[in-house]
């Protein structure tokens, strides 16, 4: 009998990584870091659930204040989002010089989507046009 196979969500491993941050105990950074908050995890997962299959996978980490960090490296940009309630923020840097392109507080979902569109997907579109993978 044929078994139905449920296709895996393309971002399920990313969501697993975000959820796994909750295993970290207080002081996980060997100093006094806070545990990763559920609020930060849910905010990061809400963003991931809005992704579609063109959005590349970011790396996932924890911040000392209990926040969740998502980071993309494109050929020339480093895009970082910190989900940490009122301390949520974003930054975009040039990878070759470390020069700041833009940074600010993260308080608006549309802002996050625009950042990804302009700096993550925008760069990919340029790469494709230039014949780079």
């Amino acid at each position: 009998m044929a078994r139905a196979v449920r296709p895996e969500h393309p971002y399920s491993s990313l969501i697993d990584e975000i959820l796994a941050l909750s295993k970290r105990q207080p002081g996980w950074n060997s100093y006094g870091a806070r545990p990763i908050t559920a609020e930060a995890q849910l905010a990061a997962i809400a963003l991931v659930n809005s992704f579609y299959d063109r959005v590349p996978l970011p790396t996932v980490g924890g911040a000392p204040n209990g926040g969740v960090v998502l980071r993309w490296l494109t050929p020339d940009r480093e895009i970082e989002l910190l989900f940490a309630a009122a301390e949520s923020e974003y930054s975009v840097l040039r990878r070759d010089t470390g020069e700041l392109v833009v940074e600010g507080r993260l308080h608006d979902v549309d802002l996050i989507k625009n950042l990804i569109q302009d700096h993550v997907l925008g760069q990919r579109a340029l790469d494709r046009a230039a014949g780079r993978k």
């Binding site: 950074n29 980490g61 911040a63 000392p64 070759d96």
Partner: protein
């Protein structure tokens, strides 16, 4: 001999680096600003005096953690203060002035580290000019 809360103006300091993508960019073997972010409960950043402990002793106590070394003169150049506070450990110092919205400064400090040991492997890597 230094005493409690003496200001320190020369030498180098170590800070442990968690094996975590927020703290270390593995693709480029470099630390991030989160290594210069004080804990929420502290007004200062804790570091080790390098003249009082060897990296190997830190690695033995904290398996899997990386390490960065920075010159105290660099910290002073950016207007920070360094005080010796052995009540939290014989080699413990506090770096003052990194609390709050100091991301540009934290990123500059990342560019000025002297030596780096990669989280996970604890292998010495050369800092890259950015």
């Amino acid at each position: 001999m230094s005493t409690v809360r003496d200001e320190i103006t020369s030498g180098t300091l170590f800070r442990r680096i968690p094996n975590d993508h927020a703290h270390w960019v593995f693709e480029e073997a470099r630390p991030t600003k989160y290594n210069f972010t004080p804990e929420t409960s502290d007004d200062f950043l804790s570091m080790h005096r390098s003249d009082m402990i060897h990296p190997d002793a830190i690695f033995a106590m904290f398996p899997g953690f990386g390490l960065l070394e920075i010159d105290i003169e660099v910290l002073l150049e950016f207007g920070l203060r360094v005080t010796y506070q052995p009540e939290e450990g014989r080699d413990h110092v506090a770096v003052w002035g990194l609390k709050g919205n100091k991301n540009p400064l934290r990123r500059e400090l990342c560019k000025r580290v002297l030596r780096l040991w990669e989280p996970g492997t604890q292998a010495l890597v050369l800092p890259k000019g950015r």
